[in-house]
Amino acid sequence: MKDPKEIIAARAAKELKDGEIVNLGIGLPTMVADYLPEGSNIVLQSENGILNMGVSAKEGEEDFEIINAGGKCVTVKSGAVFTDSAVSFGIIRGGHVDTTVLGALEVDEKGNLSNWIIPNVLMPGMGGAMDLAAGANKVIVTMLHSQKGKPKIVKKCSLPYTALKVVNLIVTEMAVIEVVREGLLLKEINPDYTLQEVKKLTGARLIISPNL
């Protein structure tokens, strides 16, 4: 079976539309860029101050003055712009980013997001996640459906929030779930899994889409 993270990245890539301005978070969300269709016209924004970021730099061809928000050397596309952090986050907060793809520790049925701290265990910091979650027009969460058998999609987040009522879509290796007013709408199931398996590893009530 394929790496679950690859399944997630490939599925999330289908949500991004041509012409959109997109910010991909660090880690799994960054992998989404590898699955964009050839010749797609998506403007990638990197919070360290790049608009129209290209693919990773080839070994031996790195320019250490051009990195992505994960610290890796990248290239830029024709028409790229470099900005300072105030402009970069102004773009994010100002609603000029159409879609952001973020990782998560937990998402709950109200679309609340927790992804920056596990008190006393892990404190990486929120980085740009609070800005992106609050500012982007659409928030897609990419994450594994569960962590060691424990659901990550829950009724109410147990970890400190990143932002409230912001998540629009959750893409996992098992399913695609939309956050709607009534709760969590199960739209797609990966054929490798059954509805029962998805329900068992989901900690919140799922509304089953009539189209499923």
Partner: protein, 222 residues
């Protein structure tokens, strides 16, 4: 143009930084970071410093050199996940060794620095509402929408990097080296610029200068 010679060696430039100083250090994951000034400050050994940074760099690089040398009392940063030494220092067994780490959303840290440098009393943002980042902050309603009041950040010193600077300290940036540098240059009482390349005044096209040299007190090559 007659000007004071601002060019110094790194050791000379940081000699003014005493114990307890607050320092803004530009750079995003070490890109666009004045490492030469950090090295000189490690050598000088000033202690009880407050650092205002984008992130905590990587072990052995950037601001980690000051953290590992035990020179930092307080770290104000957006992200520290790339440097496990921060967590170790925050949880140090000896209370006197413990680092105070204040995490701030990256866009908020940038805008607070901008406010500090450009005479603003703060700014209003929805970022952080309903989260730990809102703790202790005032909320303000504008047209029925709730915002957090974020206050300006200033510092005693700033370490600024530029790809090219002239001898007055007018700085230009390549690639993603810009990040917090132009903002911090304005928000510190004493900003020191490290430039990879130093050229004569007039050699940088004024259209391409991002950081005006009026913010810069001294210039170091490196």
């Amino acid at each position: 143009m007659s000007i004071k010679n601002k060019i110094q060696k790194a050791d000379e430039a940081v000699s003014v930084i005493g114990d307890g100083a607050s320092i803004m250090i530009g750079g995003f994951l070490c890109c666009g970071m004045a490492e030469i000034l950090i090295d000189a400050l490690v050598k000088k050994g000033s202690k009880n410093l407050t650092l205002i940074v984008n992130d905590a760099s990587f072990p052995g690089r950037g601001v980690d050199k000051l953290l590992s040398a035990g020179q930092v009392k307080r770290l104000i940063a957006g992200h520290v996940g790339t440097n496990p030494n921060v967590v170790k220092r925050v949880n140090a067994p000896q209370k006197s060794d413990r680092l105070e780490c204040i995490l701030v959303p990256l866009g908020t840290i940038a805008e607070r620095i901008r406010a500090g440098g450009f005479g603003l009393g703060g700014f209003l943002t929805t970022v952080g509402i309903g989260t730990l980042a809102a703790k202790g902050k005032k909320t303000v309603s504008v047209d029925g929408k709730k915002y957090l009041l974020e206050l300006p950040l200033k510092a005693d010193f700033a370490f600024i990097y530029a790809s090219v600077a002239d001898k007055f300290g007018n700085g230009a940036y390549r690639g993603s080296t810009r990040n917090l540098n132009p903002l911090m240059a304005s928000a510190a009482k004493h900003s020191i610029l490290a430039a990879k390349e130093i050229v004569e005044i007039g050699q940088i096209d004024p259209n391409n200068i991002v950081t005006p040299g009026i913010f810069i007190k001294s210039i170091v090559e490196g």
